[in-house]
């Protein structure tokens, strides 16, 4: 199964590479203009350091990815994405395949990881504003007993709307929080990158189904 995870990571790098300039530009509005570069390098680095990533246990794999991200990336991104993956991994420990409920648990782990690390709340104009709506959507789909595919597609939609919602928010965390009201009108780069990452993961998992 190693190849599958590595190939998803490669897809993530490919997508982020395409979006790099856009993400840098978003970060230039609010921060220091390096977010595109940072996330691409972060995931490149993950592949580099986990070339032979084998797993029986998806939870282990996610945590390994998370630790590499958290530990080796630098900037704000490393610990944030890292904690997201690590906490997500903990919630699906021992699993080799994920149900919709597992997806919900994993993603809400990611939300908790970001919250803990970044001391941010939903509405602070961060990647949380992408991830949290996706968790909410998954919860509803689980409650409604929707199919894996249906649920995941809805989660992507919700994440996208969440990302877009950051445009109207005032940043309260990270570098951009220094700009206060001047942050209104710009999408948060971390919200954007986490949308692209989530979307790429889900798409690739669904293709496989």
């Amino acid at each position: 199964m190693a190849s599958k995870i590595v190939s998803i990571l490669q897809e993530i790098v490919k997508v982020l590479e395409e979006k790099k300039a856009e993400l840098n530009r978003l970060d230039a509005n609010l921060g220091d203009g390096d977010h595109g570069r940072t996330v691409v390098n972060a995931f490149r680095n993950v592949i580099e350091q986990n070339k032979d990533l084998e797993y029986k246990d998806l939870g282990d794999a996610l945590q390994k990815i998370g630790r590499t991200l958290a530990f080796s990336t630098g900037a704000a991104t490393g610990p944030l994405f890292g904690s997201a993956f690590i906490e997500a991994g903990k919630r699906v420990q021992g699993k080799e395949k994920l149900t919709l409920r597992d997806w919900k648990n994993a993603l809400s782990g990611a939300v908790e990881g970001v919250k803990k690390r970044g001391k941010a709340e939903v509405g602070d104009k961060t990647m949380l504003d992408t991830l949290y709506p996706a968790v909410k959507a998954l919860e509803q789909s689980v409650d409604k007993n929707e199919s894996l595919k249906e649920g995941l597609l809805k989660a992507i939609e919700a994440a996208k709307r969440g990302m877009e919602s950051t445009k109207d928010l005032i940043s309260r965390r990270g570098r951009s929080s220094r700009l206060g009201e001047r942050t209104i009108g710009h999408i948060d780069p971390g919200a954007a990158s986490s949308y692209y990452i989530l979307q790429t993961i889900i798409k690739n998992c669904l293709e496989e189904e």
């Binding site: 220091d32 203009g33 390096d34 940072t38 958290a70 530990f71 080796s72 990336t73 630098g74 900037a75 704000a76 490393g78 610990p79 944030l80 890292g82 690390r117 970044g118 965390r173 990270g174 570098r175 929080s177 220094r178 700009l179 001047r182």
Partner: protein
């Protein structure tokens, strides 16, 4: 675009380190596996290790302070960007003599999160680690939100004090308490009239902010973060007053206090100007019957070529005064 003497922008930090290492090979070494600079003698038997780290572009900070009675290791980030948790973890490991390690860092979310992760990791391995986050910049948040304030030139004062304390063989708890005490008694405020540029092209980079032809910005951050107020530039005497008054009120500093004064050039402001500023600062403090026990005037924590300066005051007790007055020596900082 601001012109610079660089090669490829992505190489600036590594090439700077190469130059630093050949220039100061008697004092510092680099870890093989990580962009971490370490004092040659570290870990030093019986001494608490002092680690810091942060983005590059602040020279002499941070690496210029690795040396006797100062820092033991620095995790070196990209220009204005936090180093990774791995680098910080490697720095901690490299200087632990068994008596523990104190991490001192500025209050920037990237740095805070990466230090947090590194410290957790090091603790998991049984290393005694403490951290103190410096937040001396009055210009970055109101008093109610002191915990959100940035760390600026006050970090240098902390390094000097903890470096001296650690050198005396103090315990980790004692060294940490000094860092905390200096931070609690330190306030800074800066001003800039010209931006700097993060290297992004072969021969330079774009300015981090733009100001009107004769404008300045009060409260501006070390990376060009916006400050409290933009206004037309004023005389040196007026600007000095505008910086020092909020600093004095914030702590507050009182008649009879003994203080350390740090006037820190941000990059292109000349020493000529800094002594004109010191003249006024001296008069103001004298007028309030506050005694300058020690003063530092020059470039201690810059922002590349930014035009501007900051004023840092630290209220001293007997111990802090004697720590700040004890000798220290590193390639880019001397006190004796």
């Amino acid at each position: 675009m601001l012109k610079k003497f660089i090669n490829k922008p992505e190489d600036v930090v590594n090439e700077m380190i190469e130059g630093y290492l050949v220039a100061h090979k008697d004092v510092v070494r680099k870890l093989d596996s990580s962009r971490v600079l370490v004092r040659k003698e570290a870990p030093i038997e019986g001494k608490v290790g002092i680690v810091t780290g942060g983005g590059s572009g602040h020279k002499p900070a941070f690496i210029g302070y690795i040396g006797e009675n100062l820092l033991d290791a620095v995790a070196v980030g990209d220009i204005f960007a936090s180093p990774s948790a791995k680098q910080i973890y490697d720095a901690i490991k490299a200087v632990d003599s068994g008596r523990g390690v104190l991490c001192v860092l500025g209050n920037y979310s990237g740095d805070v999160m990466n230090f947090d992760m590194a410290v957790e990791m090091a603790r998991d391995e049984g290393i005694k680690v403490e951290q103190v986050i410096i937040n001396d910049d009055v210009g970055s948040a109101p008093r109610e939100n002191r915990e959100n304030r940035r760390g600026v030139a006050g970090e240098v004062i902390v390094w000097k004090a903890v470096g001296a304390k650690a050198a005396k063989g103090a315990s980790l708890e004692e060294v940490k308490e000094i860092a905390q005490r200096v931070n609690d008694n330190t306030r800074s405020m800066g001003v800039a009239h010209s931006p700097c540029a993060v290297p992004s092209k072969m021969y330079g980079g774009e300015p981090t902010f733009t100001l009107g032809e004769m404008e300045m910005e009060i409260g501006v951050g070390h990376h060009g973060e916006p400050g409290v107020k933009r206004m037309p530039i004023k005389t040196a005497d007026e600007v000095t007053k505008m910086l020092v008054e909020p600093v004095l009120e914030d702590l507050p500093f009182r008649k009879g206090d003994r203080v350390s004064v740090l006037i820190n050039g941000l990059g292109s402001t000349s020493l000529l100007e800094m002594y004109i500023i010191y003249r006024k600062l001296y008069q103001i403090l004298k007028g309030r019957e506050i005694t300058i026990a020690i003063s530092f005037i020059g470039e201690f924590f810059t922002s590349l070529e930014m035009g501007g300066f900051s004023i840092t005051l630290t209220r001293l007790d007997k111990e802090l005064e004697s720590l700040l007055k004890s000798p220290a020596k590193s390639p880019l900082f001397h006190y004796c």
